[in-house]
């Protein structure tokens, strides 16, 4: 537990000292979304129809952009080697790093959501559901993304590879999350979707650290 908090505060410190790396994906998210009203016209009907899909795709891409923050610098400067050597649990390290990553890359997306929703003329109900679904799904995105980040950390240009490896794994949550928002907009009950998203989150919380720590071992072994 002490190691968990030590790794988490260390990561948060590192992130806060390099704000540009953290802000880039968020700015990317906001810019992509603000391009759509320019592209398909400012008609509220059209925009609110496609809004959930736009927001989700932008959120997925922004998360993938920030995935490099997870292990890259620790791999490059040898910190990862020292953790592997010290015998501390890589699963605990992964959980701590993913949690720190979610705090700086996932949570801000949720906070940005009301503004983004207004830009896209979403109804208030839709905005809240969208924010809720993002809150439930963003930890899953970070957890699953950590597997790809750990696998490609030893490669010089791993960014694109992570995208190809991980985006297909995001499809189920994307379907569930957009369906949840559509259901909320049409006035139906969304609790079923919430349970599903929670189930996926718990599943990835249980399995992703296993896969990530194995991948980290592989990446360091060279």
């Amino acid at each position: 537990m002490r190691f968990f908090f030590a790794s988490m505060t260390r990561d948060l410190r590192v992130h806060f000292r390099r704000p540009s790396e953290v802000l880039n994906p968020l700015v990317f998210f906001a810019v992509v979304i603000s391009l759509f009203p320019l592209g398909i016209g400012p008609s509220p009907d059209q925009l609110s129809l496609v809004a959930p899909g736009i927001v989700w795709v932008a959120a997925l891409l922004a998360t993938l952009m920030s995935m490099d923050l997870l292990f890259r610098s620790d791999f490059d400067d040898g910190s990862l080697e020292q953790v592997v050597l010290s015998g501390q649990s890589l699963m605990v390290l992964t959980l701590a790093k993913v949690f720190a990553h979610w705090l700086i890359a996932g949570l801000p997306l949720v906070v940005l959501m009301p503004i983004v929703g207004l830009v896209l003329f979403l109804e208030v109900d839709g905005i809240w559901t969208l924010a809720l679904s993002l809150l439930l799904v963003s930890p899953t995105l970070s957890l699953v993304g950590s597997i790809g980040a750990a696998l490609t950390v030893g490669l010089p240009r791993g960014g694109l590879l992570v995208t190809i490896l991980i985006l297909p794994l995001y499809v189920p949550v994307l379907i569930l999350a957009t369906a949840m928002v559509q259901a909320a907009l049409s006035g139906s009950d969304v609790s079923g979707y919430i349970y599903w998203l929670l189930a996926v989150l718990l599943l990835s919380l249980a399995l992703a650290p296993l896969a990530t720590s194995a991948a980290l071992h592989l990446s360091v072994d060279e």
Partner: protein, 193 residues
């Protein structure tokens, strides 16, 4: 402390070393020598378990993993000297004693740099930060890859003195170096290439 039997390693179809057998007892200093690319770093990585693409036996009789300094110093450039050392010590479950910390930092002439991000330090100073963990964390075995490069004469003097002390205390050191190591203790050598 360490017994190595019939260790062989091949990388990129090039045999680096084969059937290497040696042992390191407590109080012993082992120097790995060899030309560039002869596999010194790979050998050290095999020994500490960071590289597993070898054949043969590496048998440690130790309660804890040895301390290791590789080519990558393990020092994070956006964190300060103190934060880095706290992290490295925390990894080994050592809580830093402020007296020992102050003494080590002053001996390594890092005093006054405690709160400076390591990215702003010179190469040699960063190496000193990485070397501080050997002085702060009690550990029976030190494995060091080129510990003396980028270190100036005064630092070298201090380091070799601490190495001798460590050996006298029954610890052992495995290091790779192109220079001769000016430590006045029994020295065994493994030559590669």
């Amino acid at each position: 402390m360490l017994r190595v039997k019939e260790l062989s390693c091949t990388r990129d179809q090039r045999p680096l070393f084969s059937s290497l057998s040696f042992s390191v007892a407590s109080g012993e200093l082992l120097q790995v020598v060899g030309a560039n690319g002869s596999g010194k770093s790979t050998l050290l990585r095999c020994l500490v378990g960071l590289y597993t693409g070898y054949e043969g036996d590496v048998d440690w009789q130790l309660n804890e993993a040895p301390l290791y300094l590789g080519h990558k110093a393990g020092v994070k450039s956006s964190l300060s000297v103190l934060e880095n050392l706290q992290w490295l010590a925390g990894l080994r479950n050592v809580s830093l004693d402020s007296e020992l910390l102050g003494e080590t930092l002053s001996k390594l002439r890092l005093e006054g740099y405690e709160d400076v991000p390591c990215g702003r330090l010179s190469e040699g100073q960063r190496k000193r930060v990485a070397l501080s963990q050997f002085l702060l964390c009690p550990n029976a075995c030190w494995v060091m890859d080129e510990p003396l490069s980028a270190i100036d004469d005064r630092g070298l003097e201090f380091l070799t003195a601490r190495m001798s002390e460590h050996l006298d205390d029954g610890g052992s050191i495995i290091l790779s170096s192109h220079q001769s190591v000016p430590v006045d203790r029994p020295l065994s050598t493994v030559s590669l290439g």
